[in-house]
């Protein structure tokens, strides 16, 4: 197959996700790669970041030396508060997440099924220590759940699968999958291809994912 394509870098992928975040959106970014999306919100769009530990209007990391560890993000790293930001307790914070008040959440994933099932909290390995945090609440409760991940594992296996083999986070909850090679929309009729990096064809992607992809509208 054609290997002349160049995958999106992590920042390019974050930029691609950020492009689709609308002006005025309330957004929760998951731990890890999704955090990068905050650096790429297009100029002129006002986006309010929510952090599960009780922050709306979360700003970037503070300057070195100005860290205050009473002001941290979900990954426990120091952040800042933007003008207009607010603090609130956990029951209110999760009411926002579970009550459909968050417009978009962007999560990492181990696997996503073609119908939008998500597995991102446990590999189910014996001896592994499971940790779920707010992933199930976000996946199920946000108005739109987007996944951001590399399409393939390090071993070259597609992370988009017909059926997740890792423990589920939520069923049919993912609307869009942004990957380093292409962007997909999960629909009732299966996966739709939204865009792909230059040099990779529709059939190449179908072969990688192992599923039929309806063409971009």
């Amino acid at each position: 197959m054609n290997t002349l394509y160049k995958p999106r870098s992590k920042d390019d992928l974050a930029r691609r996700v950020a492009q689709d975040i609308f002006d005025g959106a309330i957004v929760n970014l998951g731990i890890g790669m999704p955090t990068l999306v905050a650096n790429h919100i297009p100029a002129g769009r006002e986006v309010v970041l929510h952090s599960e530990n009780g922050i709306l209007g979360m700003g970037p990391a503070p300057a070195a030396g100005a860290e205050d560890y009473d002001l941290i993000n979900a990954g426990k790293q120091p952040v800042t508060l933007l003008p207009g930001g607010a603090f609130f307790h956990h029951a209110d914070s999760f009411a926002m997440m579970r009550g459909g008040h968050i417009d978009i959440c962007v999560l990492g994933a181990f696997q996503v099924s073609t119908t939008g099932d998500l597995a991102n909290w446990s590999t189910g390995e014996a001896g592994a220590i499971p940790a779920v945090g707010g992933a199930m609440d976000l996946a199920t409760g946000a108005r739109q759940t987007w996944v951001m991940m590399d399409l393939l594992t390090k071993q070259g296996v597609s992370k988009i699968v017909e059926r997740c083999t890792y423990p589920l986070t939520g069923i049919g909850c993912v609307k869009r999958i942004y990957t380093d090679l292409a962007t997909f929309e999960c629909t009732a009729n299966g996966l739709q291809l939204t865009d792909s990096v230059e040099g990779i064809g529709h059939q190449d992607l179908e072969a990688l994912v192992g599923a039929r992809l309806s063409p971009a509208r």
Binding site: I72, H89, F94, V132, G134, D137, G141, G170
Partner: protein
């Protein structure tokens, strides 16, 4: 006269029984009431069930309580962190029971306990391993408005340990930034709530518009010196 001010942590925690369920505020290291946890270690209660978002960072605070062998079971959403080695070792050796709960279910189960709710249905966790009872049997489910939900039960505490910012002799509390996190909801859910504050205000001087936890939910407050919260729970870049 109402006076909830305790002179010492020891006085505030006196009488904590073995086997108690202790709700401990905090998210990572923010809002962890380290002085109260140290007081609980000194007080000596054992066979505890602890509810916290995490399972301790480094070797201090909650990690020290675990290390002291006082905790039989922990109910939390995110035990595994970059610096959770105390919990990790206890878990791997089978020395502690873990009940893993989605974070929103943790918050809402506490809220339900505080608000006198018998149980509630939520879509969170439906169809996952976390919609199982501790014995492995499935929790009750129901389809509501076409969407499947799981029945979740309230989570009551015998004791809540909270880190607040300012308080008065009625027990009214304010918090500092994101160190608020689980404090207010845990204060409602426990039979007895003890909070540390950095400043005790004269009754009537806390702005009533800014009181987050009204004193009705608080039994004892203790003043402690302010020390800057130390970071934890992540790998430094």
């Amino acid at each position: 006269m109402i006076n909830k001010i305790a002179d010492t942590v020891a006085e505030a925690l006196d009488g904590t029984p073995d086997g108690a369920t202790v709700l401990i505020g905090g998210f990572g290291t923010a809002g962890i009431p380290n002085e109260l946890i140290e007081g609980l270690i000194t007080q000596g209660a054992r066979d505890l069930t602890v509810v916290n978002n995490n399972a301790g960072n480094g070797d201090t605070g909650l990690a020290a309580l675990l290390k002291a062998g006082r905790v039989r079971k922990i109910i939390c959403s995110f035990p595994r962190q970059a610096d959770s080695h105390v919990f990790d070792a206890l878990y791997r050796s089978g020395s502690i029971v873990l009940e893993l709960v989605p974070q929103g279910n943790l918050a809402e189960r506490l809220r339900a306990a505080g608000a006198g709710i018998g149980a509630f249905f939520t879509p969170t966790g439906y169809g996952t391993q976390l919609a199982l009872q501790t014995d492995g049997s499935p929790k009750e489910t129901r389809v509501i408005d076409g969407r499947p939900h799981v029945l979740e039960t309230p989570l009551h505490g015998d004791l809540a340990l909270i880190k607040a910012e300012r308080g008065d002799r009625w027990g009214n509390l304010t918090y500092r930034m994101a160190a608020r996190n689980f404090g207010p909801v845990m204060a409602t859910a426990a039979r007895r709530t003890v909070a540390t504050v950095h400043e005790i205000a004269e009754l009537g001087t806390l702005d009533p518009e800014t009181i987050v936890t009204p004193g009705i939910f608080v039994d004892r407050i203790v003043r402690i010196d302010r020390t800057a919260t130390q970071g934890g729970g992540f790998k430094p870049a």
